[in-house]
C-alpha cells in the first residue's frame, strides 16, 4: 500500500501515541472498526523516524505503541496456526480499537470540560460578612483558643514554604539545564563506536547502568535510522535477545538532505 506523505508533524502536537494514532486515522478517513494496520503502522513509523529530538519519557511511550502496532501487523500477516480455527477468530486489532475508542471518548469529554471551564472559571463569590458589618451581636462566650494548635500551624506553614521554594528552584534549575538529545548526535556516536569494522552489542554502547533511559531510547532510534540508510546491520536471534551491530559500509552516512538538516541541526559528518 502506498504511503501517503506525512506532513511535518511535531511530537509536541500530540498528547501521546494514542493521540497521534487518532490523528492518522482521522486524516486518512479510516473506519475505526477496520483499521488497515499495515498502512497505519508505516505512517506511524515514518512519523517516529522524522522526530528530531526526543522528550524523555514521551519517546518510550511512542515506541511501546510502535511495538504494539508491529506486533498486530505480524499477527495479521502470520495467523497463528497452532490455534484451532473455530470460526470465532479473534481480531488482533480489537484491543487497540478499544483503547482508541476509550481515548477518543476521553478527548471528547475533555473538550466538553474545557468549554465548561471557560464559562465557569474564576467564579466570583462574596467575601463572607463579619457579624459586625451585619450588625449582628454575638454572645460573649469563652473562646476556644488552643495555643498548641497555633504553634502547630506555625510549623505547618513554615515547612510548607520550605518545600514550596525548594521544589520551585529544583524545577527551574532542571529546565535551565535540560539537554536535548538528538537522534543525529546519537547516530554519530554509534557510527564512531563501530569505527574500524568491528562488531558491538547494543547493550555495550548503551548499558542499562550508566546511561539514562532517554539515551537508550534515542540510541535505539539512531540504530533504526542507520539501518534504514544501510549503513549498519543488526542481528537479533529472537525477540528480546541481545542485538549485535555491525558496520556495513565505510562510507559515512550520506549528507543530510535539506529537510533533515533543518530538523537535526548542523552536524559535520565529514570529520567522522
Amino acid at each position: 500500500m502506498p504511503i501517503r506523505q506525512v506532513p511535518e508533524l511535531k511530537i509536541r502536537q500530540f498528547e501521546g501515541p494514542l493521540d497521534l494514532l487518532f490523528h492518522l486515522i482521522e486524516k486518512n478517513d479510516i473506519d475505526i472498526y477496520d483499521i488497515p494496520i499495515a498502512e497505519i503502522t508505516d505512517q506511524y513509523m515514518v512519523f517516529l523516524q522524522d522526530m528530531d529530538t526526543l522528550d524523555m519519557e514521551v519517546a518510550s511511550e511512542f515506541l511501546v505503541m510502535a511495538a504494539t502496532l508491529i506486533h498486530i501487523k505480524s499477527r495479521l500477516l502470520l495467523p497463528d496456526k497452532k490455534l484451532p480455527t473455530d470460526g470465532e477468530e479473534e481480531d488482533p486489532r480489537e484491543e487497540l480499537v478499544i483503547r482508541l475508542l476509550q481515548y477518543r471518548r476521553c478527548k471528547l469529554l475533555a473538550r466538553e470540560l474545557k468549554e465548561r471551564h471557560t464559562q465557569f472559571a474564576d467564579p466570583i463569590l462574596r467575601l463572607p460578612s463579619s457579624a459586625d458589618t451585619l450588625g449582628v451581636r454575638i454572645d460573649a462566650v469563652p473562646q476556644e483558643f488552643d495555643p498548641e494548635q497555633f504553634r502547630a500551624a506555625i510549623q505547618t506553614v513554615s515547612s510548607r514554604n520550605e518545600v514550596r521554594f525548594a521544589d520551585l528552584s529544583a524545577k527551574i534549575t532542571h529546565i535551565l539545564k535540560r539537554d536535548k538529545v538528538s537522534v543525529r548526535d546519537k547516530m554519530r556516536f554509534v557510527w564512531q563506536k563501530l569505527f574500524g569494522g568491528g562488531k558491538i552489542f547494543f547493550h555495550e554502547i548503551f548499558p542499562s547502568r550508566g546511561t539514562t533511559k532517554i539515551d537508550r531510547v534515542v540510541g535505539f532510534l539512531a540504530i533504526l535510522e542507520l539501518l534504514r540508510g544501510n549503513r549498519i546491520s543488526a542481528e537479533q536471534e529472537k525477540p528480546f535477545d541481545v542485538i549485535l551491530l555491525h558496520r556495513l559500509s565505510d562510507i559515512p552516512p550520506e549528507s543530510p538532505s535539506d529537510k533533515t538538516d533543518q530538523a537535526y541541526g548542523e552536524v559535520n559528518y565529514d570529520g567522522i
Binding site: 475508542l101 465548561r116 471551564h117 472559571a121 466570583i124 463569590l125 463572607p128
Partner: protein
C-alpha cells in the same frame, strides 16, 4: 417531617432566611449547617432551595443565582454578568490549562475514585505531573487507597471542581468507566447504557460523543442562558 424546634422558622419565612444566610456566608454552606441554623429539616430545605434556585434562574431581571455543589449551596452572580463584574475586580490571571490536563481531569471525573495507573491506561502516557497540577489547582484530591497490591492512591474531584466547571454534583456525570473493557461489544454496551438508547449496532464516533453529552453534563447547560 419531624417536629421542629421551638424557634424554627415557618415555611413562609424560610426563603427570605435562606437568602440572607447564603448572602452573609459568602462561601458554600452545607445543608446540615442550614438545618442547624434554621431548625428546618434537610429535605424541606432541599426542596425550598431547588424552588428558589429555579426562580432565580427564571428571573431575567435578577443577577444572582443559587448553585448546588453536592450537599452545599452557594449564592453567586449569574455567568451573564461576569463581564461587568470583571470591570470592578481584576480577575486572577492564571495560566491556561493544557489539553492533557483536561483529558486527565475527564478520566478522573468520570471514573472516580480512580488510580494513577487507570488514568494512564486510558491516556497512554504518564500523568504524574499533570495529576500534581490538578491537585494544586484544588480540582482533584486524594481519597484513600485501593485495596490492591501496592495500595495505590485513589483520586476524586472536589467541590472546587464542581464550582469551576458549573456542575451541581458528580452524580450528574454518568459513570462511564473509561477503562477495562474486554471486547468492543462491552464498550458499545456501556455507551448505549450511558446514552440510554436501545439502538445497538454501529455507533459512530459522533454518536458516542452525542450520547454522552445528551445524558451527561449538558443537562446543566439547559438552564444556563448564554
Amino acid at each position: 417531617m419531624t417536629e421542629f424546634e421551638n424557634d424554627s422558622l415557618t415555611v413562609q419565612e424560610l426563603p427570605a432566611a435562606l437568602e440572607g444566610i447564603l448572602f452573609a456566608a459568602g462561601d458554600p454552606v452545607s445543608l446540615q449547617r442550614l438545618s442547624d441554623i434554621t431548625g428546618v429539616e434537610r429535605s424541606v430545605l432541599r426542596q425550598t432551595l431547588t424552588k428558589m434556585s429555579a426562580d432565580y434562574e427564571n428571573n431575567p431581571w435578577g443577577g444572582l443565582r443559587i448553585r448546588r455543589l453536592d450537599d452545599e449551596y452557594v449564592m453567586c452572580p449569574k455567568p451573564q454578568i461576569k463581564k461587568v463584574l470583571e470591570r470592578m475586580f481584576q480577575p486572577k490571571s492564571r495560566p491556561p490549562m493544557s489539553q492533557a490536563s483536561y483529558e486527565t481531569l475527564a478520566v478522573i471525573a468520570y471514573n472516580q475514585p480512580v488510580t494513577r495507573a487507570q488514568v494512564e491506561s486510558v491516556r497512554g502516557v504518564s500523568s504524574d505531573s499533570i495529576i500534581a497540577r490538578l491537585l494544586d489547582r484544588g480540582w482533584v484530591e486524594e481519597c484513600g487507597t485501593l485495596d490492591a497490591p501496592g495500595r495505590p492512591t485513589l483520586f476524586t474531584t472536589t467541590k472546587q471542581f464542581l464550582l469551576e466547571f458549573g456542575i451541581d454534583s458528580v452524580s450528574e456525570l454518568p459513570a462511564l468507566e473509561l477503562m477495562m473493557y474486554g471486547t468492543i461489544r462491552d464498550l458499545e454496551d456501556s455507551l448505549e447504557t450511558a446514552a440510554g438508547s436501545k439502538d445497538t449496532r454501529q455507533l459512530s464516533m459522533e454518536q458516542i460523543a452525542g450520547g454522552l453529552f445528551a445524558s451527561g453534563i449538558s443537562d446543566a447547560d439547559e438552564h444556563l442562558p448564554t
